[in-house]
Amino acid sequence: MSITFKEVEHTYSVDTPFAYHALKGVNLDIKKGSMTALIGHTGSGKSTLIQHINALLLPTSGQVQIEDVLITATDKPSSLKSLRKKAGLVFQFPEYQLFEETILKDIIFGPKNFGVSEEEAIKIAKDMIQLVGLDESYLERSPFDLSGGQKRRIAIAGILAMNPDILILDEPTAGLDPQGAKEMLQLFKKVNQEGKTVVLVSHDMNQVLEYCDDVVVMNHGRVEKHVTVAELFKETEYLTSLSIDLPIITSFILELNKNGFHIDPSIKDINVLVQEIGGQLNE
C-alpha cells in the first residue's frame, strides 16, 4: 500500500466563524503503481484530499501514511522535503506557478531545490521538455510568451523533473483542447506504466474509463466508493444520482442493449465494440 488514509478529518480555519469541515472520516488505500481517478462534484473535497498526500495540509485528526512517512495532526514529518519529492503535486492551472526568465530555469527549479546538481538538472530538463511534447529550442525561451496549454506542459515538466514516485494531478486537462488533453493523458499513462503511482482528479468520465484502473468517488467530504473502473460504470443508477455522466461509449452500449443487443458494457475500445456489434448483427 503506497498511500493510506485512516479516519482523516480536515477542517479549514478551525475555531473561527469561517470553519469548514471539508473531509469527514476518510479511509483510503491507494495501491502502489496504480492509476487512480478521483472524481466527485466541485466542493466535494478532492483538492483538499490530495494536498494531504504531500503534507501541504495536515489532517485535523486521523493519519495519512505515504510509504514509510506518517503524517498526523500533531507531528509533521521531520523531513517535509523528502516527502514533497516523493509525491509530486500538479495543482489546477499550474501555469500560474511559472516565474523564471527561461523555461529551462523553471524546469530545473524543482530538482535543484531537492539537491540535484545543475548539470544533472539540465539533462533532466532536456528529457522532460520532449516528454511533454515540446522541443529543446523552447528551453531558452521565456515561459510567459507561450500559450496557456504550452505553459501547462512546462509546469508539468517542472514536476516530472523532480522524478516523484507518486504523481498527483488536480484537473490537469481543465481548459485544454481535446487533442492537448489526450496527449496529456497519454503522457500520464506512460509515466504510470514506468512504475509510478498516479492520482488523477478528473471530471471527464471518458478519461477515467480509458486511462485509469481504480476510481475513488467523493461526495460532501466523504469517500463514498473505491472500486475498479469497470465496477463503477456498472452502477448507472448511483452515477445518475450524483449526476455524473457515463462515458460516451458506455452509454452507447447501454442504449444498444436496451434495443436487443447483448454487449459487455465494460468495453473501452471502439474497435472492440465495432467487432462485437458486427458479430451480433451477423447472428
Binding site: 522535503k81 514533497r84 503535486l89 500538479v90 516565474f99 531545490n113 523532480m162
Partner: protein, 266 residues
Amino acid sequence: MNNMMFGKYIPIDSFIHRLDPRLKIGSLLLLLIAVFFDAGFLGYALLGIFVIIMALLSHIKVSQILKAIKPMLFMMAFLMIFNLLFIQQGNLLVSIGFIKIYDQAVLQTLYIFIRLILIIVMTTILTATTKPLDLTLGIEHLLSPFKRIGFPTHEVAMMISIALRFIPTLLEETQRIMKAQASRGVEFSEGSLKEKILSIVSLIIPLFISAFQRAEDLANAMESRNYNPEAKRTRYKQLIWKISDTISFACVIMICSVLVIMSFVL
C-alpha cells in the same frame, strides 16, 4: 498566512455591527487623532477601557484580536528597538558598551507601544464589524462634501471598494502559489538568505502576473458593460442614521474631548 485576521470582516451580529458605517469611520478618525494627544498613562488607561468596551460590544473573540496584532509584532519590535537606542534624553539607565538606554527612551517607547496596540485594535474593530461594501459606502458619503471642489468622490470610493474586494482574492492566490512552490521544494520559513530571497521571488512574480491579469480582465469587463465613472448613480442600499448612532457618537466625542483636555492640563 492561513489565519490572516487583519482587515477581515467577521459575519456575526452585534451592537457595533449594526452601527452606521459613517459613524464608525468618523469615530475611528477622531480616536486615531486622540491617540496622538499625550494625555499620560491615565489618558491611555481611559482610552484602553473604552476600546475594551467597544471590543466586548462587537462580540469579537480575544483570540481574533490577538491574531490581528500578531503580524504587526515584528514591525513594532523594530520600531521599539530603534526608539530605545536613539532617544537620548533624561537619566541614563543602562549602559553596555555603545548601547545607552535612557529613562525617557523607555517611557517614549512604552507610549509608542500602547499607541500602536490601540490603533491596531480600533482599526480591527472597524473592519471586523463593517462589511467592505458598507465601508466604501460610508467613505463615499463622508467624502461627498468635497465633490463640490471637484474631488472625484465616486472614483475614489470605487477604487477603495475594488481594492478591498480583491484582498481576500490576493490572499487566496498567495496561498495557492505558496503551496504550488512548496510542492517544488521551496521552504518559505527555512534556508539561507539567498534561498529565502529566491523563494520570495518565486512567490512575488506569479502573484504580480496574476494580479495584473486580473486587473486587465476586470477593466475589460467593466468597460464592455459601459461603465462610466462620472454617471449619476442611485443606491439600493441607503444609510439610515439611528438614535443609537447619535448616542455612540456623543460618547466618542466625549472621550476625545476628555483626552485632549487632559493632554493640555497635565
